[in-house]
């Protein structure tokens, strides 16, 4: 009898332990889920708090002030905003024909087979190459090429500058729009395409009049994700853009982006307002990229749910 009882209570104890472990496990899952939220809010709060000195001292007009001269305590972010917009949109314009061509080729012309596998893997590896390697290669190989081009065009042959940065960026962001575009083009229902073919449409006409209109919003989302990537890209741009705080006069002039000025001057910023002005740039960058990424993802979600 006594033996039986201890045996029974042991069992109860053990299952007590299991229940406690189960509750602990569930609770820690919830805590980790919650901590993701805390992490992102923490990032946002830190950026806001650390930019307060700059917000107080320089006000909103900081964002379109035209001079950046930390030695004389004059801060204006306009050169960097302009530099960021120029490099990103130039890169986007250069990259779009290529990324759409890849998307159409992999999604429509040749979805299977070794050749399309090869291209797909190449695109994925393009995204995998570290940005510092793009920067290094750009600095040594691309800069002399751009310089030669600039001499031919008769502009000041810097070599480094907005145009070179945009070229490197274009290569780096092609995979984002390309792989998303491919997925979207695959989703086009084949009855739609078959109907067009049966009416006598050529392959190109099907792509132009059926596939592209159907996937328009998805392709746009791909462009948004590419843009988000281009805006925040730091190292490759920093290495080839020339790093001057003057307002760029042409697309061949050297300049600076928000990310590259942070990378260059953050550890040198020796007083509060200077440092805080740089962090405010980081805050702007954070907010803009988050909005662009969220918009892109929302469009994709709506597209794939339909």
């Amino acid at each position: 009898m006594i033996e039986d009882e201890t045996w029974g209570s042991k069992r109860v104890n053990r299952s007590h332990g299991q229940i406690r472990a189960e509750a602990l496990f569930k609770r820690s899952l919830v805590i980790i889920g919650f901590s993701m939220l805390v992490l992102v809010l923490g990032i946002l709060l830190t950026l806001i708090i650390e930019s307060i000195p700059s917000l107080k001292h320089l006000g909103v007009k900081y964002l379109w002030g035209k001079t950046w001269d930390p030695v004389n305590n004059v801060y204006g972010a306009f050169p960097f905003l302009l530099g960021t917009l120029l490099t990103s949109f130039l890169a986007l314009i250069i990259s779009i024909p290529f990324s759409f061509a890849i998307a159409i080729y992999l999604g429509e012309y040749n979805p299977k087979g070794w050749l399309s596998n090869f291209l797909k893997n190449t695109v994925e590896l393009i995204a995998a190459v570290p940005s510092v390697i793009y920067g290094f290669w750009g600095l040594i190989v691309l800069v002399p090429m751009v310089r030669a081009l600039e001499t031919k065009l008769g502009v000041l042959p810097y070599g480094i500058g907005i145009f070179t940065a945009a070229l490197i960026l274009a290569i780096m962001i092609i995979p984002y729009a390309a792989s998303l575009g491919r997925e979207m083009i695959r989703l086009v229902p084949s009855p739609l395409k078959e109907a067009a073919y049966s009416l006598g449409a050529t392959r190109f006409e099907v792509i132009r009049n059926v596939v592209l209109p159907y996937t328009r919003s998805g392709l746009f989302a791909g462009i948004l994700l590419s843009l988000g990537r281009a805006l925040g890209e730091t190292m490759a741009v920093t290495m080839v853009i020339g790093n001057t705080s003057l307002i760029p006069t042409s697309i061949f002039a050297p300049g600076n982006t928000m990310a590259s000025v942070i990378a260059n001057e953050f550890t040198e910023a020796d007083h509060t307002v200077y440092l805080s002005a740089l962090i405010e740039l980081g805050l702007v960058l954070f907010i803009v990229t988050v909005i662009i990424n969220m918009a892109g993802k929302r469009i994709i979600k709506r597209f794939t749910n339909e």
């Binding site: 602990l24 496990f25 569930k26 820690s28 899952l29 919830v30 889920g33 901590s35 993701m36 939220l37 992490l39 923490g42 990032i43 830190t46 950026l47 650390e50 024909p97 290529f98 061509a101 890849i102 080729y105 992999l106 012309y109 291209l119 190449t122 695109v123 590896l125 393009i126 995998a128 190459v129 570290p130 510092v132 390697i133 793009y134 920067g135 290094f136 600095l139 040594i140 092609i174 050529t202 392959r203 190109f204 792509i207 805006l231 925040g232 730091t234 290495m239 990310a259 942070i262 990378a263 953050f266 550890t267 962090i279 980081g282 960058l285 954070f286 990229t289 662009i292 990424n293 969220m294």
Partner: protein, 281 residues
């Protein structure tokens, strides 16, 4: 066939040719980068290169052992922090598909994925470097761990979503406690996906420079103490490539070759292993 139809067919053929041409141009820069870095880098790599620290400016020779060891340590520490949290986060999201907290948590992961890496560097500077008062390899690892999280969480979530509910129900029906069902049944079933997510996230962060600029900072000497500034391969490439010294460029080329091939190899291995496992499923 009338002229109009011929014209349309020709136009279609031409468009196809242009699209194929444009699509395959992308292979050129990748090939150019790989070949150029291989040619420049391979001549610099030898035993001294792998076992010595960089020589001061003006002296030839020297190596990058400080960056090699630093990179491995920083990435290892980041993985130790990020993998448990990331996998648990993925389990949480796949187990709670529709709760209010999981909606916000999923949104937070999405946001985190889009945050520029330099911003993470700034934030970790204020969280760890400034309160402690010195740059440290540990803070660099934290920054990289934050960048790993979204990839880990997403890949774990997507993998676990594919596992049929009947497995979980069978486990629970046998009286197994919830945590055992998850850790002993569900997670092992999704192991291949989780592992490929882990490898992918490591491949992503191994080449990151921006978050390390204000955290791990770099160090010309060999250091294995996580509380002190530490060199890493991407940092070394950035600092030496932008320097005006030829000897430093040599070191940067060698380091670039090692980094590029490590990252590409990690990606290719991930790809091959997932493909093999998928076939076996």
């Amino acid at each position: 066939m009338n002229v109009h139809v011929k014209y349309r067919v020709a136009k279609s053929k031409l468009a196809q040719a242009v699209i194929v041409l444009l699509a395959f141009i992308i292979t050129l820069p990748l090939l150019a980068i790989i070949i150029y870095i291989f040619r420049e880098g391979i001549t610099r790599i030898n035993w001294t290169f792998l076992t010595h620290i960089p020589k001061p400016v003006g002296e030839t020779g020297g190596g990058i052992v400080n960056a090699l060891i630093g990179s491995v340590l920083i990435v290892l520490a980041a993985s130790v922090m990020a993998i448990p949290i990331g996998v648990m986060g993925g389990i949480y999201l796949s187990e709670n598909k529709n709760s209010r907290l999981s909606y916000w948590s999923r949104l937070a992961v999405d946001v985190l994925q889009g945050v520029p890496s330099i911003v993470i560097g700034i934030v970790v500077y204020f969280w760890i470097v400034k309160p402690i008062g010195s740059f440290s390899a540990f803070s660099g690892s934290v920054a990289l761990a934050i960048m790993m999280l979204p990839i880990l969480i997403r890949s774990t979530e997507e993998t676990l979503k594919l596992i049929p509910d009947s497995l979980k129900e069978a486990g629970l029906a046998l009286g197994l406690p919830y945590h055992k069902v998850i850790l002993r049944v569900i997670v092992p079933c999704g192991m291949s996906g989780i592992i490929s997510g882990i490898m992918l996230s490591i491949a992503r962060i191994a080449g990151e420079t921006a978050p390390l600029l204000f955290t791990a900072f770099g160090n010309p000497y060999l250091n294995t103490n996580l509380a002190k500034p530490m060199q890493s391969l991407p940092l070394l490439i950035f600092n030496y490539a932008t320097s005006p010294y030829d000897e430093w460029h040599d070191l940067a080329w060698g380091a670039a070759l090692i980094l590029l091939f490590t990252v590409l190899l990690l990606n290719i291995i991930t790809k091959l292993t997932t493909r093999r496992w998928n076939v076996q499923l």
